[in-house]
C-alpha cells in the first residue's frame, strides 16, 4: 500500500491543522484526503474542535489585581495589611488616654481631701461652664484640672520627682503619637512610600 493510500491517523490530521507538517508530508495527506471520505470527515471533526477552542473567550481579572501588582513593583513597599500591629496600635490609641485618665482618677480618689462627690461636682461645674462659656472652656478646663492636680498631690509628686514625671509624660505622649501614626499607616495610607524608588 502506498503512503498516499494509508489513512493518516488522528495525530497527523491534528499536525496538519496545526500547520506543523513539512510540505511533502502535507501534500501527501491532502491528496489522500481528496479521495477519502472518512478521513475528510475526521479532519472536519478536528477542525471544528480547533475552531471552538480558539473561540474561547479571553477572561479578564478584576481591576483590583492590576492595582495589587503595581503596588508591589520592584522598589515599592508592600502595602501593610491590617495585621496585629494595626490592631495593637488601635488598642494603644484607645487605651493611652484612658490609662492616663484612670491614673489621675485613682490619684484623686486616693487623696484624703477629695471624694468622688467632689470630683462629680467639679465635672458638673465643667459641664455647666462649657455650656455657658464655650469660648473660654479650654482655659477654664486647664485651670480647674491644674487645681485638681495641686489638691490631689499629683503636682506635688511631680515636683518631688520631676525626672520621673517628665519621663511618664514623654512615654504617654510617645505611646499616643506612635499608636496614631501606626494606625494611620495601616488604615489610611498603606503605600505612602510607593513612588519613592520608581521613576515614571
Amino acid at each position: 500500500m502506498s503512503e498516499e493510500a494509508e489513512h493518516p491517523g488522528a495525530e497527523a490530521l491534528q499536525a496538519l491543522l496545526d500547520g506543523e507538517l513539512d510540505q511533502p508530508r502535507r501534500e501527501t495527506i491532502e491528496r489522500h484526503l481528496a479521495g477519502c471520505v472518512p478521513c475528510s470527515r475526521e479532519l472536519r471533526d478536528w477542525s471544528a474542535l480547533f475552531h471552538a477552542l480558539e473561540e474561547l473567550p479571553e477572561l479578564a481579572p478584576s481591576p483590583r489585581m492590576r492595582e495589587n501588582v503595581l503596588a508591589r513593583l520592584p522598589g515599592k513597599r508592600a502595602p501593610t495589611p491590617l495585621r496585629w500591629l494595626g490592631w495593637a496600635a488601635a488598642m494603644g490609641l484607645l487605651l493611652t488616654p484612658s490609662l492616663g485618665f484612670l491614673l489621675v482618677a485613682a490619684a484623686i480618689v486616693a487623696h484624703p481631701l477629695l471624694t468622688l462627690e467632689g470630683v462629680a461636682t467639679l465635672l458638673g461645674w465643667q459641664l455647666a461652664d462649657f455650656a455657658r462659656e464655650n469660648l473660654t472652656w479650654i482655659a477654664r478646663w486647664a485651670m480647674e484640672w491644674g487645681l485638681v492636680a495641686l489638691e490631689s498631690g499629683i503636682a506635688e509628686a511631680a515636683l518631688s520627682y520631676p525626672g520621673r514625671a517628665f519621663a511618664a509624660l514623654v512615654a504617654l505622649w510617645a505611646a499616643f503619637v506612635g499608636s496614631g501614626w501606626t494606625l494611620y499607616r495601616n488604615l489610611l495610607s498603606p503605600s505612602r512610600t510607593a513612588n519613592r524608588h520608581v521613576q515614571v
Binding site: E20, D45, W46, A60, R66, Q199
Partner: protein, 196 residues
C-alpha cells in the same frame, strides 16, 4: 516615549531601569491572556487572581533575569504556568505530574462509539458561536489532567507554536506533541460524553 508603541523587549529593558510605565504597559498587555490561562488551569477565579498576581510580581522582580533572546511572552507564560502547576501539585487536585504519564484511555476503560461533534454539518463560524458548546468545552477542559490542559490552552488560546509551548513548559518537543494529541482526543471524547 509612549509605552504603547514599544515592543515587549523594549518595555522589558525599560522595566529593568525601574520605569513604572513600562511595568504597567506589560501588565496591561498580558494580564488577560495570563489570567485566561491560569483561571482555566485552577478552575477558581479568586485563586487565579492571586496566582496571576504572584506570577507578575515574580516576573517583574526578576525582570533582570529575562533573556532578550527569548520571547517575553514565553518567559512570562512559563512563570505563570509554573505558579499554577506548583499550586495544583501542592493542593493535589490532580494526580499526575506535568512531565506526564501515559494515559491514553479513560479511567473507566469503557469503549465508546464514535460520536459526531455538532460541527460536522455546520459552518465553522456557526459552530463556534454556539454558546452551549463553548460551555461544554470549558467544562470538558476542567476534566483534563493539567499537563494536557496546559498544552492545549497555550496552543489554542494563545496561539503558541509547538516549540514555544515546549519552551514555556520546559518539556521536550515530543512530549508536547504527545500531550496535545492525547489531550485533544480526550477532549473530544468528553464532548461526546456530554452530548449523550
Amino acid at each position: 516615549m509612549e509605552c504603547g508603541s514599544l515592543d515587549d523587549h523594549e518595555l522589558a529593558a525599560q522595566a529593568c531601569e525601574g520605569r513604572e510605565a513600562a511595568f504597567r504597559e506589560l501588565l496591561e498587555r498580558y494580564e488577560r491572556p495570563v489570567f485566561s490561562l491560569v483561571v482555566r488551569m485552577v478552575r477558581d477565579r479568586a485563586l487565579a487572581e492571586d496566582l496571576v498576581q504572584e506570577a507578575f510580581i515574580r516576573a517583574f522582580r526578576g525582570i533582570r533575569s529575562f533573556d532578550p533572546s527569548y520571547k517575553f511572552s514565553s518567559w512570562l507564560f512559563r512563570i505563570a504556568s509554573n505558579v499554577a502547576i506548583d499550586h495544583l501539585r501542592r493542593r493535589k487536585l490532580d494526580t499526575v505530574s506535568i512531565h506526564g504519564a501515559d494515559h491514553r484511555g479513560h479511567p473507566d476503560g469503557r469503549e465508546r462509539p464514535d460520536l459526531d461533534l455538532p460541527a460536522r454539518d455546520q459552518d465553522p463560524e456557526r459552530f463556534t458561536e454556539n454558546r452551549e458548546l463553548r460551555e461544554r468545552i470549558e467544562a470538558a477542559l476542567t476534566h483534563l489532567r493539567p499537563e494536557y490542559r496546559a498544552v492545549i490552552l497555550l496552543r489554542h488560546l494563545e496561539g503558541h507554536s509547538y516549540e514555544e509551548v515546549a519552551e514555556i513548559l520546559e518539556l521536550p518537543l515530543g512530549t508536547v506533541k504527545t500531550h496535545l494529541h492525547r489531550g485533544r482526543a480526550e477532549l473530544r471524547e468528553l464532548l461526546r460524553e456530554f452530548e449523550r
